[in-house]
C-alpha cells in the first residue's frame, strides 16, 4: 500500500483546496470553543491531518465539512480533558508552594469582543458547543444535533439555557443576545 504522505508533502488532489476553504472556519469555531486561538490553530491542524489520512473517504462524503466539524469538536473535547489534568497538576504544584507555569495573556481586542469571548468561554461545554455551532458556524439545529449525538430538543434547550446565561452577563444586553431555541 502506498502512503501518499511518505514521500513528502504532496497532498492528494483537492485536499489543499478543501483545507484552505474550511480552515478559517475551523480556527474561528475552535477559538471560541476553546477560548484560545493558539490551541484552536493546533487543533485545526490536527483535524485537517485526519482529513488528509481519510481523504479517500472524506472527498466522497455528502457532507465532508460536517465530518470535519465533528472531528474538530472531538479533538477539542479531548484537549479539555488534558487541560483539566494540567490544571489539577498546576494546583498541586501551587499547594506545595511551587510556581505554576502560567503565561500572561494580552488581548488587544475591543470591549464587546472581549465580553462575547468571555461570555462564551464561561458557558458549560455543551452549551458553548451549541452556541458556536449554531451562531458562529450557522449550522441548523438538526445538523448540530447530529454533530453532538443528541436530540434536536436537547440542542434547543441547551441554546435556550446558553442565551439565558449570556444575557445575565455584564456587557451583554438582551439586544445582543437573542431569545434562543
Amino acid at each position: 500500500m502506498t502512503d501518499p504522505t511518505a514521500s513528502g508533502p504532496a497532498a492528494p488532489e483537492g485536499l489543499a483546496e478543501f483545507c484552505e476553504r474550511l480552515r478559517p472556519k475551523l480556527v474561528g469555531m475552535l477559538s471560541l470553543y476553546c477560548a484560545d486561538t493558539g490551541v484552536a490553530e493546533e487543533l485545526t491542524q490536527e483535524t485537517l491531518a485526519r482529513v488528509w489520512v481519510n481523504w479517500d473517504k472524506v472527498r466522497v462524503m455528502s457532507a465532508p465539512s460536517g465530518w470535519t466539524y465533528r472531528v474538530a469538536m472531538n479533538l477539542a473535547n479531548s484537549a479539555f480533558r488534558r487541560r483539566s489534568a494540567e490544571r489539577r497538576a498546576q494546583q498541586r504544584l501551587l499547594d506545595r508552594g511551587g510556581v505554576p507555569n502560567l503565561v500572561p495573556h494580552m488581548d488587544p481586542d475591543t470591549p464587546d469582543t472581549l465580553a462575547v469571548r468571555a461570555a462564551v468561554a464561561a458557558l458549560p461545554p455543551r452549551q458553548r458547543a451549541v452556541v458556536v455551532l449554531r451562531y458562529y458556524s450557522d449550522l441548523p439545529v438538526e445538523e448540530v444535533a447530529r454533530l453532538m449525538s443528541c436530540a434536536e430538543g436537547t440542542v434547543k434547550s441547551l441554546t435556550h439555557r446558553a442565551m439565558q446565561t449570556m444575557r445575565g452577563m455584564p456587557h451583554l444586553s438582551a439586544e445582543e443576545v437573542p431569545g434562543g431555541a
Partner: protein
Amino acid sequence: MAPEPRLHDLLHRAAGAPAAPLDLADLGRRARRIRRNRRLGTAATVLALVAPVAVAGRVLTVPETNVGFLSGGGARSATPQPDGAEYRPSPAPAPTPQAGLAMPPSPGAPAGAPVAGTPTPRRTDGRESYATVTIQDPPGAPERRPDLPGDSRHPDVVLSLVLDRTTAGPDDVIDAWLDVRNTGEEPIALGSPRCWALWGLYQGGTWRGGQPDSTCGDRAPTHVLEPGQRWSISVRLDARTTGADGRRGAALAPGTYQAAAGLRVETREHEWSGVWYAPPVDVTVTG
C-alpha cells in the same frame, strides 16, 4: 434558521483567525504520524493476541468463569472506572436462572439491521446464565447511531445489557450491567452513560422512565478500552417515571417495557463518535 445577526457578528469578531497560511508540509507530517501510530497499534494488538499462544506452544484454555458476561457472572476487566461510575467485578449468581433474560436478536429490528452475533447458549449447570446478543441499533432506542455518510470507520464494539431480574414492582429498582467489549484493532474511548442519560425504560420506542435521580454533574468522563478489552458499568433502572428535573416520578403503569442502555463510543483518533446501544431487554412492571 432565523438569523441572529447581532450575536452572529459579535461571534465572528470574537473568533480567532489563522495567524499563518495553511502549512501543507506540516499536515503531511501529522498525517504520516497518524498512519504510523495506527500501524503500530495494529501490530501490538496482533502480538498481544498471538504471542502468548505461540510462546506456550499450546492452545490456551480460558476457564469458563473468566469469560465474563458471556458465561455469566465471571471476572470482568479490572480496568479503572470513570468518575462516578460504579464497578461490579462479579455479580453474585442468582439462585435460579432467570427465564426472561434470554434476549432474542432484537424483535422487530428493521431488515438488514446490523446484528454482529448470536445469542450465547445457556449454561446447564444450574448457575446463573446471561444470554447476550451483540449489537447494534436496537429498535426503539432513544437515539440512533449517527452514521456519517461515507464513513466506514466505525469502531468494533459489542455491548450487552444484563439485568438482575426482568420483573419489577412499582417501587423496585433493577440492577443492570452494561458490558462493553472492544472487538476491533484500535483503542476506543467510552463516554459514561451516566452523563448522557442513555439508559431507561421504553415502550414502543418512547422513553417512559427508569432513570433514578441522578443527574449529569460533569462532562462525559472517558475510559479508553484497548483492543480485546472488556469493561462493565452498572446502571440502575427504577420502575418509576423520571420527572423533568431528573427526580423520581410516579410509579410506572403495569406492563411490558424495554430496558435499554448505551454509551458514547469514539475512536481514539477522533474520527468517529456516536452513541451505541445494547439490545433492549423486556421488563415486566407489575402493579
